[in-house]
Symmetry: C2
Subunit: 344 residues, 2 copies
Amino acid sequence: MKTFREDDLKNYCKKVMIASGVDAGCAQAVADCLLDADLTGVSSHGVSRFAIYIERLEKGLVSKGNNIRIERESPSAVVIDAGNSLGAPAAKYAMETCIRKAAETGCCFATVKHSNHFGTAAFYTKMAAAQGMIGFACTNLTCKVAPYGSAEPFMGTDPISVAVPSNDIPVVLDMTPTVVALGKLILAQKLGQSIPLGWALDREGRPTTDPAEGRKGSLIPIGGPKGSGMAIIVEILSGLLSGAGCGPELHDLYEFDAPQGVGHFLGAIDVGHFMELSAFQESVSSMAAQIRGLRKAEGFSEILLPGEGAARRAEANRQKGISVPDQVYEELVALGRPYGMVLE
Amino acid sequence: MKTFREDDLKNYCKKVMIASGVDAGCAQAVADCLLDADLTGVSSHGVSRFAIYIERLEKGLVSKGNNIRIERESPSAVVIDAGNSLGAPAAKYAMETCIRKAAETGCCFATVKHSNHFGTAAFYTKMAAAQGMIGFACTNLTCKVAPYGSAEPFMGTDPISVAVPSNDIPVVLDMTPTVVALGKLILAQKLGQSIPLGWALDREGRPTTDPAEGRKGSLIPIGGPKGSGMAIIVEILSGLLSGAGCGPELHDLYEFDAPQGVGHFLGAIDVGHFMELSAFQESVSSMAAQIRGLRKAEGFSEILLPGEGAARRAEANRQKGISVPDQVYEELVALGRPYGMVLE
């Protein structure tokens, strides 16, 4: 395990991408997004993903250029074609556009098609919260979740994020509509452990405690038909309203058969068009304080608002640096070697 | 059990409200909303609620007039003060305004404050879907759900609905972020049955199988911190962005101490600003057909899209009429008697 300052890791990733021919703005967006995930402790979406991003770029499955274009625009609606550019710059541009237009009209939503893995959804919604707006973001992904009543996966582990500005840290919800992430099954299988009933279904749609069977089957949505319905709505917003497609039309980040072709749906609601921003922020902070002050449930020493744990980890990691496991460190070093770049 | 045609029940409720002094437009909205719930089989939100609505109106806790006013307006944002009018006409007016404005700009969202119980959220989102738009609606309610880590309820069983137009019936998600509705605890207690672990916490925040203890405690959100976070976001959108308030500031439908003071958040996204409506509807219907055609999980004979069960029940109830339990029938009859009205 090695530890790095945020900026050192970010600059290294950015420079490697630029050296390999990636558009500078796109490289910046990806590096910002990866490091935000590492800072907030979501290391599954941090620099551990850098190698697969580079591999897809080098294989020509993701464009190195910035082909992101507005295809159609109304005062409060934007249709973006990412042209198979990297997901982070496409989603970042979509949110920037929504923020600019929401400031004029009150709110704006954007679809993005022909896109790629965009990292954490919270990265984009926090952009809106930083501008005094409520941010919304979701994306679709390849089939991992079975619709309620089915034995076959159709929806992805489609994340949904909402971020809300307050007087201090924003309230940031960032969740998949599944009981657990796929990573928990992969880890259990690696460790030879069984998984609790309720995490996954086997290929026949039966609850399973075998992580290998669960990986061949599907992840279980939260609340049965509720989480299933939420994932279907995300597929509609991200995949159909954008024209990106959904279900078997999408391709996996870790398979090299075709561009991913995923879609995103993002938006911003400008608080200032509804009420005085400072009064709203005050009311959010006051509600957060009330919630923190409630009686704790057995086994809890404190109550955290959505996003509060992530914000604390970011604060700690800014101080003590970001820890990178040896395997990820070796990957990063290898990616810079062809360009004579050193990670230190 | 008696059976009535939809229109007969609707007209009866409307006429009783008008006779008691309720504004005719408000009475129409409430009657439409109650009967839509009964038609779709959500009888908990149908005419079984008529008596409590009338009782609150007669006690002066809900205004009989239409005091619903736009307080502030931008091209894609509307701030509405319901002035303690009935919830249904306030939310219906908000959605109508969003639909009108979204047609111009691409999307529009509205907050509603000083409002009351608005029935089912799906009633409003289906209005948008009928106009070729994606509808969104949520509302806050009195404290019944504990934030993750707390032993005390703060959020309501805050429903969230999204409706999407297709070539045939719309896709309609309408869910609370809790594992079960409060009604299931009330019923179990009445029948002297225990409840499964996972439905409710007792007053100390411990999982309980005793429905009476669960009613004194709180309902469990789906997915732990996920459903808890969703309910907190609904409180922010419906309660804080509207200026309505949240948590202990709200009052219960079945207590007579004060107006409820709840808030709503509704919006419409006009598909036609993103892509050709007919192509979008075709893609939604095609996705629905793909999902219906997936292999069934053990124990399922078919896969239903969100809202499909409700649409089938509505079709059946239009044919065979709406069944009203004797107790509800007696209530309805008693409410018309002072005005010489007969339900038949």
